[in-house]
């Protein structure tokens, strides 16, 4: 009998899971709430630490999904689920033999950290804006000028009690290093300063990349968190921080302030979790059955989870986890 798995979310996690299931002879349907698959990666420029264009990951996945004839329903927002399918916003029920939750994360809204003036001052950007502008080839100051001094601020919406985001989003540190290098290449005459609380280079090649940014690109790393951004009379942005390694307050004006926004749990995780008795971690991400032997099982019968719906992850980890999820789903279907 032909088995069908309902996969919620058509980002890299959902697509890779569908492809691995297909390889194991199991059919699936991908429910994507946007108008196209690809998730956040669609707006991303290059991936750390290799500077691989995001399209070089995304395009092969999309092509393979097409070639495998995997059913994709776009504009399909899921409002409820159980181990035998999902319910869409329009009330339609999509039935299956198992469900994979691959709904990803939400980018932290930098406007909430009002002191940084995002949405208020020109030339305060987020890391996501930078990726989009690099893709469009439009990265410059609002007036079209080339920036002479750029500051990055790490941990915007991460490790911050004040905005109810206590967790570390992990990938922003290395994104800050990557973008510092990209900007330095684009604007070699600019001084680049990264303001950080801790630098967490957890992945293979990341520490080397950090060192390269320091030594080869002369990126200045200042251990201290920017306290506020304010406009200067010549349209620049004044920032203040403590240079904690010298124990002195520090201030400077910059042409561009880039906020490295964190990954936070989707608002509708609560609704989905309630509909299917899933457990949420205090951070709001879905909590897997256990972090070791059942990291892709939700703990609820027939429901699996993969990718950043359970925690901040990079693309490589997500793709690898998708293979693990497909494997767990296949096991589950075989034993039923």
């Amino acid at each position: 009998m032909k088995r069908r798995v309902v996969i919620i979310g058509g980002g890299v996690a959902g697509m890779q899971t569908a492809l691995r299931l297909h390889a194991a002879g199991i059919g699936s349907v991908i429910l994507e709430k946007d108008s196209a698959t690809g998730g956040k990666l669609r707006d991303w420029h290059k991936l750390f630490p290799t500077f691989t264009p995001a399209s070089e990951v995304l395009d092969p996945l999309r092509r393979a999904v097409g070639a495998a004839g995997i059913e994709v329903r776009t504009g399909a927002e899921v409002v409820g689920l159980d181990g035998r399918g999902a319910v869409l916003a329009d009330g339609t029920r999509i039935d299956g033999d198992a469900v994979v939750v691959a709904t990803g994360f939400t980018l932290f809204d930098a406007r909430i950290k009002e002191e940084y003036g995002y949405g208020i001052y020109d030339n305060v950007l987020t890391s996501a804006d930078v990726e989009r502008m690099l893709n469009e080839g439009t990265l410059s100051m609002k007036n079209g000028d080339r920036p002479r001094r750029i500051a990055f601020l790490h941990c915007v919406g991460s490790r911050d009690e004040k905005v109810c985001q206590r967790h570390c989003s992990r990938v922003c540190c290395v994104t800050g290093v990557k973008q510092a290098m990209e900007l330095k290449e684009r604007f070699p005459e600019a001084d680049v300063f990264n303001f950080y609380m801790d630098i967490r280079m957890f992945g293979s090649g990341y520490e080397e990349m950090y060192r390269e940014a320091q030594v080869r690109h002369n990126v200045h790393f200042v251990r201290g968190r920017i306290s506020e951004a304010a406009p200067t009379i010549d349209g620049r942005i004044q920032i203040k921080a403590e240079d904690t390694l010298t124990g002195r307050p520090l201030r400077m004006s910059v042409d561009m302030l880039i906020l490295l926004v964190g990954m936070r749990a989707n608002d509708d995780n609560r609704r989905l979790a309630d509909s299917a008795s899933l457990t949420l971690a205090p951070s709001g991400f879905v909590q897997p059955a256990d972090p070791f032997l059942h990291s892709v099982e939700s703990g609820a019968e027939g429901i699996f989870c993969v990718g950043t719906v359970t925690a901040p992850k990079n693309v490589g980890e997500t793709l690898a986890e998708a293979a693990a999820a497909a494997d767990a789903v296949a096991d589950y279907l075989k034993n039923r």
Partner: protein, 111 residues
């Protein structure tokens, strides 16, 4: 009118003001020794420092201040260094710390 004795003055700002500091010497130092930028502030150099254990000389702090354009007093403090080389043995980033001492003294002799 006689000057008023206020009993206090306007405190000077303590902040490192990157806009006001002249970073030219700092840039020259980093250009000659880019590896200095790779300092991660672990403090190993200062922990083992012969001079730093007996005087207020803090090698890590002084070179960090120099990188921010705060040159005043750096030369005199670097003179405390006994060039024993222990700091270079421990630096996890492999920075030629003795070279940094000599470079800063050479560049900032007139500060």
């Amino acid at each position: 009118m006689a000057a008023i004795n206020w009993g206090y003055g306007i405190s000077k700002p303590r902040a490192i003001d990157i806009d006001r500091n002249n970073l030219r010497r700092s840039d020259e130092i980093l250009h000659e020794m880019p590896e200095l930028q790779s300092c991660i502030g672990c403090g190993s150099c200062t922990a083992v420092c012969t001079a730093g254990n007996l005087t207020e000389f803090n090698f890590r702090k002084v070179h960090t201040l120099v990188r921010r354009g705060e040159y005043e007093g750096a030369y005199e403090l670097m003179n405390r260094c006994m060039l024993c080389g222990k700091c270079r043995l421990v630096c996890p980033r492999g920075i030629n710390t003795r070279g940094v001492v000599m470079l800063i003294k050479r560049k900032l002799g007139d500060f």
